[in-house]
C-alpha cells in the first residue's frame, strides 16, 4: 500500500547524478571476463511484472553465453520484502531479488542478504545509489534506479515557472481559476507522510537526524519547534483550515483531479505521469516549493538487486549482476521497461534530455535518502495517522508531540 517502496538517495547523490548526466561519456564498463559455462546451474530471480521483460533480456544473454538457466519468478512488488525475509531462511528463497533500498534495514536485521562486490561496475553507478544500498559501511545490493517525487503543474493553467514557495504556488493556483489550486494524496484516512515529506523537511523537521556522513541515526528529528511548525501548517491547510490538504483524496482521486484540469498543482512521482497526462493536460515537473522556509527535500528512493545470503549459486549470482546486468544494454532495457531515473550513468546521460525526467532529476537533487534503518518500520503507521488527525482538525501541537513520543517509545 505504500507507494513508497521507493527509496532514497542523498542530496549529495542527486548533485552527483546531475553531474554524471552532464559529464563526459564513460568507457565501456563491462569487463569481458571469460564467459563461464554455467550449464546445470539454475539461478532464481524474483521480479515484479514491470521489470520482468528487462531482466528477461539480460537473462537470455546470460543463458546463451553460459548455458545456465535463469528462472524468473514474478511477484507483486509489495510482497517481495516479506516473502524474501520469510523464505530465504527456509532455503526456498531466490538467489536474487529486485527490491527497494528501504528494504535494506529489515533484510540486514533478518540476515537474509549477502554483501556484494560491485567491482568495476561501481564506477558507472551514481554514488548516491551505492550509498543507499550501503548499510553500516557494507554494500548489499546492485542499485540501478533512483526515484523521487516532485511538484507537477498544469502548464495550461499556471505556466511553466516553478513557484518559489507554498504561498506563491497557492496564489498562482487560485489565480488560474482552477477548482483547486493544489491537490495531494493522503491515501484517504491512512495518511501519506511519504508524499508530504518535502513540505515537512522545508520546516527543518526530518524524520530521523542524519549524522555527519549522511547516515541516519535512530534519533527522531520530527519533534521540537520545527516539527510543531510543520504540524501547525498542516492543520492550517487541512480540512478545518484552507482545505487544500484533505483526507478525502486518495491516489486515484488525486490523479483524476489533476488529469481533468480541476487542480493546478500536485505532488507525485514518475509512476503517476501516465495517469496525470491521460486526459491531455500539459505538465511541467518542478522541485517541490518550500512551505517552511528551508529547502523542500523529498525522499529519494533507490531500486536495485539483492543477493540471498542462503544462495547456493553465489558465484553465478554475482556474475550475473556484475557482468550481465551491469551493461549499457541491460540498463537501457531496465529503463525502457520501467522508466525510473537510471543510476547507471551512461543511460542517465541519455535519458536526461526528456524534460519530465530532467524535472524529477532536479527534484531528487534536492532530496534526502529515505531511511532504510529497521526502526523506520515502526514509524510509518504512527506518522501517517498523526498527519491524518491533524489534517482533519485535531490540535496540531499536542497530536504531533504525542506522535513523536509514541515513535520514540516504539523504537525503544
Amino acid at each position: 500500500m505504500r507507494k513508497m517502496g521507493i527509496g532514497i538517495a542523498a542530496l549529495a547523490s542527486a548533485t552527483l547524478l546531475l553531474a554524471g548526466c552532464s559529464g563526459s561519456s564513460t568507457p565501456e564498463s563491462t569487463e569481458s571476463g571469460d564467459a563461464i559455462d554455467a550449464s546445470g546451474v539454475t539461478l532464481t530471480i524474483w521480479t515484479d511484472a514491470n521489470r520482468k521483460p528487462a531482466i528477461e533480456a539480460a537473462a537470455k544473454t546470460f543463458e546463451e553465453e553460459t548455458g545456465g538457466k535463469i528462472e524468473l519468478v514474478q511477484k507483486n512488488f509489495e510482497d517481495i520484502r516479506n516473502d524474501f525475509i520469510n523464505q530465504v531462511p527456509t532455503g526456498n528463497g531466490p538467489d536474487i531479488t529486485v527490491g527497494a533500498h528501504d528494504f535494506l534495514g529489515s533484510f540486514v536485521e533478518a540476515g537474509v542478504i549477502d554483501t556484494v562486490d560491485l567491482g568495476d561496475a561501481a564506477d558507472q553507478l551514481e554514488q548516491v545509489a551505492i550509498d543507499a544500498f550501503t548499510y553500516d559501511g557494507q554494500v548489499y545490493g546492485f542499485p540501478y534506479a533512483l526515484e523521487s517525487i516532485a511538484l507537477i503543474q498544469n502548464t495550461d493553467l499556471v505556466g511553466e515557472d516553478a513557484p518559489a514557495t507554498w504561498d506563491d504556488m497557492i496564489a498562482k493556483g487560485v489565480a488560474s481559476g482552477a477548482e483547486r489550486p493544489f491537490v495531494i494524496n493522503t491515501a484517504l484516512e491512512t495518511g501519506d507522510a511519504y508524499t508530504m515529506y518535502g513540505f515537512q523537511t522545508s520546516f527543518g523537521a526530518p524524520v530521523f537526524v542524519q549524522d555527519a556522513s549522511g547516515s541516519y541515526t535512530s534519533e527522531v528529528g520530527m519533534g521540537g519547534d520545527a516539527g510543531n511548525a510543520f504540524a501547525a501548517w498542516l492543520g492550517a491547510n487541512g480540512q478545518t483550515g484552507t482545505g487544500y490538504i484533505s483526507t478525502t483524496v486518495d491516489y486515484d482521486i488525486n490523479n483524476e483531479l489533476f488529469a481533468s484540469g480541476k487542480a493546478a498543482y500536485t505532488v507525485q512521482g514518475p509512476w503517476a505521469i501516465e495517469a496525470l497526462t491521460a486526459q491531455g493536460v500539459n505538465i511541467k515537473v518542478n522541485p517541490i516549493p518550500s512551505a517552511g522556509g528551508e529547502t523542500a527535500a523529498p525522499f529519494v528512493g533507490v531500486q536495485g538487486f539483492y543477493v540471498s545470503s542462503q544462495s547456493k549459486n553465489a558465484l553465478v549470482a554475482q556474475q550475473f549482476l556484475t557482468h550481465y546486468l551491469a551493461t549499457d544494454e541491460a540498463q537501457q532495457a531496465l529503463y525502457d521497461a520501467d522508466p525510473r531515473l537510471p543510476a547507471w550513468k551512461p543511460v542517465a546521460e541519455k535519458v536526461a534530455a526528456d524534460p519530465v525526467v530532467a524535472g524529477f532529476l532536479a527534484s531528487s537533487a534536492a532530496g534526502v535518502p529515505q531511511p532504510s534503518i529497521p526502526e523506520m518500520g515502526s514509524v510509518w503507521d504512527l506518522w501517517n495517522a498523526a498527519q491524518v488527525q491533524i489534517i482533519k482538525g485535531a490540535d496540531p501541537a499536542s497530536t504531533w508531540t504525542k506522535m513523536v513520543s509514541d515513535v520514540q517509545a516504539a523504537i525503544g
Binding site: A38, G40, E109, T190, W380, D381
Partner: protein, 542 residues
C-alpha cells in the same frame, strides 16, 4: 456405527438395532463381494498409482528438504491410503479418508503450525535459526580492506584442498585456508594465473560445481590475521577482506575484534553485549506464553485490542441479526401470492449477493467519500458528512455495506424455509382462529429458525472473521490515536491480526499475530458450541 450401505435409506432411526443384528439383516457390502478383476478395479488401480506417485514425490521432496515431520505424515498418509483402498475391510474409511486427509493437511496442520508460531518470537529480526544469525553476523562483519586491489584470480586445487591464486603485478601468489598466500611463481600475463606451480588450476566448470566451497574459502594474506584474507565472489577476481566478527560456538559468543565488544547469545534469540547493544540479526526462539501475556499486559496494546474485541462482537452479531431480519421480512412479503412481479423483484434483490464482495466494498468506499462520494452529494445534499473519518460513522458505514451484501443470502434462505413450511400446520392455525401475527410468532418464526439456526451460527462465525469487507472498505480505519500496528476503530480481530503480522509493510510480529489467532479460534469455537447446543433445544421444541 452407521453403515453407509444402509439400503433402507433411512438415516434417523429411533432405536437403532445392535450392529451385529443389523449387519445380519443387510446384504453383504459390495466391497466384500469382490470377485476378481473388473473395470472398477482397473480404474482404482490407475487412480491409486497416481496417488502413490504424488505421495512418493512428496516423500522424496520432504526427505531432500529434511522436513522430518512432513515426511512422517506423508508416509503415514500414503500407507493409510494404500491399506484402506486395497483391503476389503475398512469400508467406511474408504469414503472418509480423502476428507480426513484434506482436513489434516489444510486445517489441522495449519492450526497446529499457527499454535506453534504463537509460542515463538517469529517476526522482524527473528526469522531464521541461530546458525543463520551467526552467518549473518559474520557476513555483516566482514569488511573490504579499504585499499584492496582487485586481483585476477584462479581457483586451484592440491590433493583435495582448495586454494586461490592471484596475479599480483606479475607475481603469482597462491595459498589455501591453511596456507597463507606466498609467491609461487611469475607470469608475464596480466590475467588470472593459468598455471600455478604445485597446484592444479580448476576450470570454470569445476568451480561452478564447488560454488559454496569457493565462496566460503578465505586465504590468509599472511600469518597475521589482521592483514585480512583473500576471497572471491565470482571465481575470477579476488579482493582482501578483514573479518571483524569472531564466533565462539563453545562460549556462544560473537566478539567484535575492532571494538572488543563481546555479544552473548541470549534466551530471547539475540546476540547482546553487556551494555545492551544487540547485533541486527537474531533468531527464532520459543518464548512460552509471552505472546499471550503481551496481549493482556502490554499497555499500548490492551486498550486498542479491547476496543477491537468489543467491536468484533458487535459487528458479528449485527452482521447476522440485521440482514436476517431484513431478509426474513422481505421473504415473508415476497411469499405473498398477491404481490405482482415477484420473480423479477426476487431476482433484483439477490443481485448484491451475486456481485463480488471485495468489488462492492471498493465501490462503497468511493461512494462514502465525504467530498467526492455519491452518498453525501445525492442523499445529503452535498453535506460534508465524514463517513470514513468518524469512528461511529465509519462503523455504521461498514456495517451498512455488509448488511447490503448479506441480506440477499438470508432472503434466499428464509424464502426457502418459508416455502417448506407445512401447509397443514398453517391451515390448522387459521382454523383455530390464529391471526396473522400469531401465526408468524408461533408457527412461522420457530420453524424458520429451526431451519436457519445452523446457518445463522455459521454466518456469525464467518462475520467474526470477515476480513474482506473490513480490509477492502477502509482497512479498519480511522486509526485509533497512538495505537500500534495501525489498529483502527473498525478493525475486527482478524484484520487486527493482519495488521500485527506486518504483512502489509510494518514491523512483522508473527508470534503475536498467531497468539491472537489462537484466541480468536477459541472464542469462535466456544460461541459456536454454545449456539449449536441452543439450536438443539429449538429442535426439541419442534
Amino acid at each position: 456405527m452407521s453403515s453407509p450401505h444402509d439400503t433402507t435409506g433411512t438415516t434417523t432411526e429411533a432405536t437403532p438395532p445392535t450392529p451385529a443384528a443389523r449387519r445380519a439383516a443387510l446384504p453383504e457390502p459390495h466391497g466384500r463381494r469382490w470377485n476378481g478383476l473388473g473395470w472398477g478395479f482397473l480404474v482404482k488401480l490407475a487412480i491409486m498409482a497416481v496417488i502413490n506417485a504424488f505421495g512418493l514425490l512428496g516423500i522424496v521432496a520432504a526427505y531432500r528438504a529434511e522436513s522430518w515431520v512432513i515426511l512422517a505424515v506423508a508416509v503415514l498418509l500414503l500407507v493409510a491410503a494404500d491399506i484402506v483402498y486395497f483391503t476389503k475391510r475398512a469400508l467406511p474409511l474408504k469414503y472418509l479418508l480423502p476428507g480426513l486427509a484434506f482436513l489434516l493437511i489444510f486445517q489441522v496442520f495449519i492450526f497446529a503450525y499457527t499454535a506453534y508460531i504463537a509460542f515463538t518470537n517469529y517476526g522482524a529480526g527473528h526469522v531464521g535459526t541461530q546458525e543463520q544469525a551467526v552467518q549473518a553476523a559474520l557476513i555483516q562483519g566482514e569488511r573490504l580492506v579499504e585499499d584492496s586491489e582487485r586481483y585476477p584470480l584462479s581457483v586451484i586445487e592440491r590433493g583435495g584442498e582448495y586454494g586461490l591464486a592471484i596475479n599480483d603485478d606479475g607475481d603469482i601468489r597462491a595459498g589455501s585456508a591453511e596456507q597463507p598466500l606466498e609467491v609461487v611463481g611469475e607470469t608475464s600475463d596480466s590475467g588470472a594465473p593459468a598455471e600455478v606451480p604445485g597446484w592444479t588450476v580448476l576450470s570454470v566448470n569445476q568451480i561452478l560445481s564447488l560454488q559454496s566451497e569457493i565462496t566460503a574459502l578465505r586465504v590468509p594474506v599472511s600469518d597475521d590475521p589482521n592483514d585480512g584474507s583473500l576471497r572471491t565472489r565470482d571465481g575470477s577476481t579476488g579482493t582482501i577482506y578483514v573479518s571483524t566478527m569472531a564466533w565462539d560456538e563453545q562460549a556462544q559468543t560473537i566478539t567484535d575484534s575492532t571494538t572488543g565488544t563481546v555479544y552473548h547469545a541470549t534466551d530471547a534469540g539475540t546476540f547482546t553485549s553487556e551494555d545492551g547493544e544487540s547485533l541486527p540479526a537474531g533468531w527464532m526462539v520459543h518464548v512460552g506464553f509471552d505472546n499471550f501475556q503481551r496481549l493482556f499486559t502490554d499497555s499500548s496494546l490492551v486498550e486498542p485490542l479491547a476496543l477491537v474485541t468489543v467491536w468484533t462482537f458487535a459487528w458479528a452479531f449485527l452482521s447476522v441479526a440485521v440482514p436476517f431480519a431484513i431478509g426474513l421480512v422481505l421473504a415473508i412479503i415476497f411469499n405473498d401470492e398477491r404481490l405482482r412481479g415477484r420473480k423479477v423483484l426476487r431476482t433484483l434483490f439477490i443481485l448484491p449477493y451475486a456481485f463480488p464482495a471485495f468489488m462492492s466494498a471498493l465501490l462503497w468506499r468511493g461512494m462514502f467519500n465525504s467530498e467526492f462520494g455519491v452518498i453525501n452529494d445525492v442523499f445529503f445534499g452535498g453535506a460534508n458528512i465524514d463517513w470514513l473519518g468518524d469512528p461511529w460513522l465509519a462503523r455504521f458505514a461498514v456495517l451498512f455495506v455488509n448488511v447490503w451484501l448479506t441480506f440477499p443470502y438470508f432472503f434466499l434462505v428464509c424464502t426457502g424455509a418459508i416455502q417448506a413450511l407445512p401447509a397443514d400446520a398453517l391451515e390448522a392455525a387459521e382454523i383455530d382462529g390464529a391471526g396473522r401475527f400469531r401465526q408468524l410468532r408461533s408457527i412461522i418464526l420457530p420453524l424458520v429458525l429451526v431451519a436457519t439456526a445452523p446457518l445463522l451460527i455459521s454466518s456469525f462465525a464467518f462475520s467474526f472473521n470477515n476480513f474482506t469487507i473490513i480490509y477492502m472498505f477502509n482497512s479498519g480505519g480511522p486509526a485509533i490515536p497512538g495505537a500500534p500496528y495501525t489498529l483502527g476503530y473498525t478493525d475486527i480481530l482478524i484484520s487486527a491480526i493482519w495488521d500485527i503480522s506486518g504483512i502489509n509493510g510494518g514491523k512483522a510480529d508473527y508470534g503475536l499475530a498467531s497468539a491472537l489467532s489462537i484466541m480468536v479460534f477459541i472464542v469462535v469455537a466456544v460461541i459456536s458450541t454454545i449456539a449449536f447446543r441452543q439450536t438443539k433445544k429449538l429442535e426439541e421444541y419442534q
